[in-house]
């Protein structure tokens, strides 16, 4: 195993030849095949892979908590010299939560909503018979304090829904560490969190690890997170380990073509603002069928005929790491592989149909000083309590415009009001004041009967690609549904479906499939086709890449860029993912607590952020480079509740540069001659 320390650390967890099958209706899925890697004591081991790689299956195998249809076909998992696969139920239960503990992916769903934290933590300590109730509570409060939950003595009696996402994850970490486990497993611990929260949790995990000298196995698809935290990395693909190494070896000197491709696809790594994002073409192989040769061969840019038939040899590094590839050793070795880091080994998708034209003409969409208020009590309750009908400003004085052929990225964390803004533009939400103009026509609060014809020109791409498709309709019916909704007649729907499928590069056989038979990327393309069905002029896309693997999100974004170049579409992309919009947006608007705090050209937002919040967002994104780890947490605290919006600048409560003036009055929007606008008294540049 890879070690870059002088002494040989003790191996705490040793996974050897682990193979797991899942019995499904389609047949046996060989989910894990011959997984072998050790985890050294006191180090953080990262398991990185895309969906379907089997990384979570490894994690749940360690705990013996695989799904009911899973079957361990062989191998051993040695933890402190005990084979976890052969331990009895009672012995396993004694290990779980005591010696091995877990931090879960989504703190919103992994904590039981009907029990408070005191009760949940008390339950975890049920094996400590010699502790009194008061001692257990004290230990729990102490642990909550340690993970940075303010006022833990009273907050421990609260329920999970009283906590914000970041605080819940802190509580989740506190629960995991309560028993002082020897091994901590972390399953995508920051995936459900906002950027500023993610940075805080990364920092917390790092501090706790050095503090407690814990051993951590971190599972994630996020290369940035892996690079931030891990000492050693295992790269998995389609149920196999393809490469193992130290974090520096993996990120600076990746040997396996898949590792290289994965790194190249990460939008956070691509520094030049090119419109085309690299992609790994194809899908992961069908694991119900027997595989021969290299598992990655079908998608590898360097695949040779032998790759499909002969099992790749293992090339070992001096450090102990290894990679399985024909290019690295054996008769097919290529001395020029791997190429230097600045050479791209994957294609950046198909070439663009046309060069993007500069956005021009009158704006498609003009939003001016838009305000959306939500009443929090309702008139009757408010009167009963003798208060003026209270409200929160979900969208506050927002102005934004999108021209034909232009892509505007609207970036904000959860609770920033970005989705409300999108809904208001589409006339799905009542607005209180301001104006929304589409091609010069005022559409705010327009009655639905009059607005319906305009819906043809403004399409929506929904966040959840599979959930937003009716499970009982075929792709063909789904694609042509908008045509039927709008009563478009006089065209052959079958031909139209084929034309649209062709447009989004969805092969014809897919037209007869149903949503559950589609992969995430394919479902996305169906979503794009539906949005395009009525030849809209403006598309509002809500998190267009959410839930997609890095190797396919480029595909969707490239497709959107191509369609824009061809048809001059305007895009308003609503997202929390800054690196993604960076590559496809002309302009970016940053939203915080319902207000746009900065707006400008995409390149300038990144190179010259004016607002401290923008800076925090830009710097908070974990970089897939272990040499560029976050050294400090730029923004502390949490997004305040809309119910107590700060009196001065909305960001003043968290801003590292805040002064008295910031806390006293709200900064107005200021636009510079180059069109870069901000709402800050003390802009950074």
């Amino acid at each position: 195993m890879a070690k870059d320390m002088g002494t040989a650390p003790e191996t705490l967890l040793d996974i050897r030849n682990l193979s797991v099958d899942f019995r499904t209706a389609r047949g046996r899925v060989k989910a894990l095949r011959d997984i072998t890697f050790p985890v050294s004591k006191g180090r953080i081991m990262g398991i990185v892979g895309e969906s379907g790689s089997g990384k979570s299956t490894v994690l749940w195998s360690i705990l013996g908590l695989l799904a009911g249809n899973a079957e361990v076909m062989g191998g051993e998992i040695l933890f402190q010299d005990d084979d976890m696969l052969r331990k009895g139920q009672a012995a396993m239960r004694a290990t779980r939560g005591e010696d091995i503990s877990v931090v879960f992916q989504d703190p919103m769903t992994s904590q039981i909503p009907v029990l408070n934290y005191a009760r949940q933590m008390f339950d975890i300590l049920y094996r400590r018979r010699n502790m009194t109730k008061a001692e257990k509570r004290k230990a729990a409060v102490e642990m909550m304090r340690k993970v940075g939950i303010p006022d833990p003595d009273s907050r421990i009696d609260q329920y999970p829904h009283h906590f914000s996402g970041g605080m819940r994850q802190r509580a989740g970490i506190a629960m995991a560490l309560l028993t002082g486990p020897k091994l901590l497993l972390a399953d995508e611990p920051t995936t459900a969190l906002d950027v500023t929260m993610e940075a805080q949790i990364i920092n917390l995990l790092r501090e706790l690890q050095s503090d407690l000298e814990a051993t951590i196995v971190l599972v994630s698809h996020n290369l940035g997170l892996i690079a931030e935290l891990c000492d050693d990395v295992v790269v998995m693909y389609a149920g196999e380990v393809v490469e193992v190494g130290t974090v520096h070896e993996i990120f600076h000197n990746a040997q396996h073509p898949y590792t290289r491709a994965l790194l190249e696809c990460d939008p956070a790594r691509i520094s030049d603002v090119s419109r085309r994002l690299p992609v790994i073409p194809g899908d992961i192989p069908d694991l119900t069928k027997p595989q021969t040769g290299c598992i990655f061969a079908s998608r590898c840019q360097r695949a040779m005929p032998e790759c499909r038939t002969i099992e790749p040899p293992t090339a070992t590094r001096p450090s102990g790491g290894y990679a399985n590839c024909h290019l690295l050793t054996g008769p097919l070795e290529d001395p020029d592989w791997p190429p230097p880091l600045d050479v791209l080994t994957v294609r950046s998708g198909e070439s663009a149909v046309a060069e993007k034209k500069a956005p021009e003409g009158t704006p498609l969409l003009e939003v001016e000083n838009l305000n959306v208020r939500f009443r929090t009590l309702g008139p009757v309750k408010a009167r009963l309590r003798g208060v003026e009908d209270p409200f929160v400003d979900a969208v506050l004085d927002v102005s934004i415009r999108v021209r034909p052929g232009e892509t505007v990225g609207l970036v904000g964390e959860s609770g920033s009001g970005k989705t409300t803004l999108g809904r208001t533009i589409l006339n799905l939400q009542h607005a209180d004041s301001g104006s929304v103009r589409f091609e010069g026509q005022e559409i705010r609060n327009m009655p639905e009967a009059r607005f319906k014809p305009l819906r043809r020109d403004m399409a929506m791409m929904f966040q959840d690609p599979i959930g937003s498709l009716s499970p009982r309709k075929s792709v063909r019916a789904l694609i042509t549904e908008p045509l039927q909704v709008h009563g478009v007649t006089g065209m052959n729907l079958d031909e139209e479906a084929e034309r649209l499928a062709d447009m989004v590069r969805l092969p014809k056989p897919f037209l007869t499939r149903y949503p559950h038979e589609l992969s995430g990327g394919q479902a996305r393309r169906v979503g794009v086709a539906r949005a395009l069905a009525l030849n809209p002029k403006l598309i509002i896309a809500d998190e267009p890449t959410a839930g997609l693997d890095v190797s396919v999100q480029g595909e969707v974004l490239n497709l959107m860029a191509d369609l824009q170049a061809e048809h001059g579409l305007g895009y308003l992309i609503i997202t929390h993912n800054l690196p993604v919009v960076r590559h496809i947006s002309d302009r970016i608007a940053i939203m915080y607590l319902g207000r746009i705090v900065e707006e400008g050209r995409a390149s300038e937002i990144f190179s010259k952020p004016l607002h401290p919040y923008t800076q925090a967002l830009v710097e908070g994104v974990p970089q897939p480079d272990p040499d560029k780890r976050l050294t400090h947490v730029a923004v502390r605290g949490e997004v305040p509740s809309l119910l107590n919006r700060p009196k001065g600048c909305d960001f003043a409560t968290r801003c590292p540069y805040a002064q008295d003036r910031c806390r006293a009055e709200k900064p107005a929007h200021e636009t510079r001659p180059d069109g870069h606008s901000h709402a800050c008294f003390f802009p950074l540049h």
């Binding site: 779980r96 877990v102 009907v114 339950d123 975890i124």
Partner: protein, 314 residues
């Protein structure tokens, strides 16, 4: 919370008012003179006139309605046509038997159905799950009056283990309990299966939630996970169902009370309808409705007690 209670009580009052209106209109919608209907075709004109005066039938209909409502608010539901007793007292005598019956029925259904549903959900497709599945569907499909008759024939007539009819000697608790067994068995039987299926379905859903996996990963005992965690969430839809189920039980009790000749409210309504004793019908249905509304309100409050999110949104 207080606001919620006030709102719910207000709505309950509205529902009861509507029921009163319907019940009251019923009497006037039946063709013919209410007095003649009440007293029968062979009543003398003097008796009819006396009855009409006593029942305020000579007043305009809206006034009659207001009088009825006014009396009902003060607890006076009118007078039994035959015995001349106060309807409130008549209903009051009987309601205890019905309450005992439906509580016993639901009680044993819950005590058996809940654990069965949990066990079936913990091991889906096990033999226990399959057996409860088949039995559940079977018991749901058989109407309770049929179960009543068969139970009566087998346990009371053939085996002579349990008394057949009546509610037992007043004051003798054991005797009363032994009279309760067969009707409660008959009325509750279909609910055992129904609850077991419901709990199984919602338990299966909850057992697949990430927080149950969390509890497993923290090494909690299986029994704790099932009854302390999963059931706590899975019970919520079941509580609503049980609350609404009481409404159905009241009508199931009518059959059981007739068959077992229990002096409950169901039998009272039946007898009153047969005898065209309208004040009693009105009063008894009104009380049954109020009882049902009260139970549904209680089940909603119980949910709030179980679920902090609901509690805070009240």
């Amino acid at each position: 919370m207080l606001f919620y209670l006030v709102k719910r009580l207000g709505l309950s009052a509205l529902v009861i008012a509507l029921v009163v209106l319907v019940l009251f209109s019923l009497l006037h919608l039946i063709p013919g003179d209410p007095a003649t209907i009440a007293l029968g075709p062979r009543a003398t004109p003097e008796a009819i006139a006396r009855y009409a005066a006593k029942m305020h039938l000579d007043e305009p209909v809206w006034r009659q309605f207001l009088i009825y409502v006014g009396n009902a608010v003060t607890g006076d539901l009118g007078v039994d046509v035959f015995s001349d007793r106060n309807v409130t007292a008549v209903v009051g005598d009987r309601i205890g038997f019905t309450l005992a019956l439906i509580c016993a029925s639901m009680g044993w259904a819950v005590l058996l159905g809940l654990p069965l549903g949990c066990l079936a959900a913990v091991r889906p497709n096990s033999w226990l799950d399959r057996v409860t599945g088949v039995l559940s569907v079977g018991t749901i499909a058989v109407p309770s009056f049929l179960v009543s008759i068969w139970a009566l024939l087998i346990f009371a007539v053939e085996l002579r283990w349990l008394p057949a009819i009546g509610a037992g000697e007043p004051g003798d608790t054991m005797d009363q309990l032994s009279h309760l067994v067969l009707p409660a068995f008959a009325v509750g039987l279909s609910w055992v299966g129904y609850l077991a299926r419901m709990v199984r379905a919602s338990m299966l859903e909850v057992m697949a939630e990430p927080y149950i996996r969390s509890a497993r990963a923290f090494g909690l005992r299986p029994r704790k996970i099932v009854y302390g965690y999963a059931l706590r969430v899975a019970i919520l839809p079941t509580i609503t169902l049980i609350g609404m189920g009481f409404g159905g039980l009241i009508s199931a009790a009518v059959f059981a009370e007739i068959i077992f000749a229990r002096p409950g409210i169901g039998k009272l309504i039946y007898d009153a309808v047969m005898a065209r004793n309208f004040p009693v019908v009105q009063g008894a249905v009104l009380v049954a409705t109020a009882m049902y509304i009260g139970i549904v309100l209680m089940s909603d409050l119980l949910i709030a007690w179980f679920d902090p999110r609901v509690r805070e949104s009240l």
